[in-house]
Symmetry: C2
Subunit: 186 residues, 2 copies
């Protein structure tokens, strides 16, 4: 909370995660963060697109790190990923189904509306899949195989988050966890 810029960015992450790009106002970000309103355009002279792009990329970095941490404990990729997705299910539940992926809504809304934000979303998703891929490579997957599986895992988890948030239960994510484990145990 030391410097206002980082705090604004963190608040933007949280709001974008819940409400998406168009659903989140700059005034809302400022108010929620408690940061001085007058300094918004001092820190982010290019406005909302800049804030969102930076927030999305930062969210990608944080999430990728969380994936790496979550997978690091266990040697077996199938079990590690299974447990990791279960943790997401609990996390979504305990956030009252407001949290989940900080990228999904923004990525869908802006895919063909803002090139700048779209590129940030790509970079963020690339960080996520890379985290899964590394774990798979550690477990003996070829790079090509690991690439494909990492994409599939990312897709399944993202979709699981959508369903869990929509149905207000972590069960869809638990189903995803179970079947990813089956797939990766072959």
């Amino acid at each position: 909370m030391g410097n206002p810029r980082e705090h604004i960015l963190q608040t933007a992450c949280n709001l974008l995660e819940k409400q998406g790009y168009y659903g989140t106002g700059l005034n809302e970000i400022v108010k929620e963060s408690g940061a001085p309103k007058g300094s918004l355009y001092h820190y982010f002279p290019e406005g909302k697109e800049q804030i969102t792009s930076e927030a999305v990329l930062q969210a990608g970095k944080v999430t990728a790190q969380r994936i790496q941490d979550g997978l690091s404990g266990d040697g077996n990729a199938a079990k590690a990923i299974h447990d990791f997705v279960l943790n997401i299910a609990n996390h979504v539940e305990s956030s009252d189904f407001a949290a989940g992926s900080p990228l999904t809504a923004v990525a869908m809304e802006t895919a063909s509306k803002s090139e700048r934000i779209n590129l940030a979303c790509r970079d963020a998703y690339t960080l996520l899949t890379a985290a899964f891929r590394e774990k798979l490579i550690e477990n003996g997957y070829t790079k090509a195989k690991a690439d494909e599986f990492a994409t599939f895992i990312t897709a399944a988890v993202e979709g699981g988050i959508i369903l869990s948030r929509t149905y207000h239960t972590g069960n869809p994510l638990r189903t995803v966890a179970k079947h990813l484990k089956i797939l990766l145990s072959q």
Copy 2:
């Protein structure tokens, strides 16, 4: 195009698919549809929430029907679902990555903001998973197994659409298609 109400609803579907709930304005819907502006609140007296709820549910029905049609041709569920997801990949590509799921963005934005729209999203997703589930049951899956797989398929496809739209290539969806086939062929 005969009655304005249906036409407004169809236009709303398309715009919500591209831009989500907050990114789509009522004026935009009216303008794009060409429907008489003065009649908006005549047909939808409860405003934007009503239009969105009805549009989401209609999108669910149409998509579920498309799933049923897409899966009806082939006897084998694994191959049918594989081919169906490949068709989505082509569809997303040919729409310049604006199309995909009409539900995703709206579901994420409104999961904890509008109960009415959230319930419509649940109903819509339930229709989609039911379409997959029926095909699996036809192929000898138990109801419990079919339920789980249908949820997993829906999640993977939704996630694949997000990634394909974000990266502006149908390849993530093709990867999803391939690995769903592997999983269902076991």
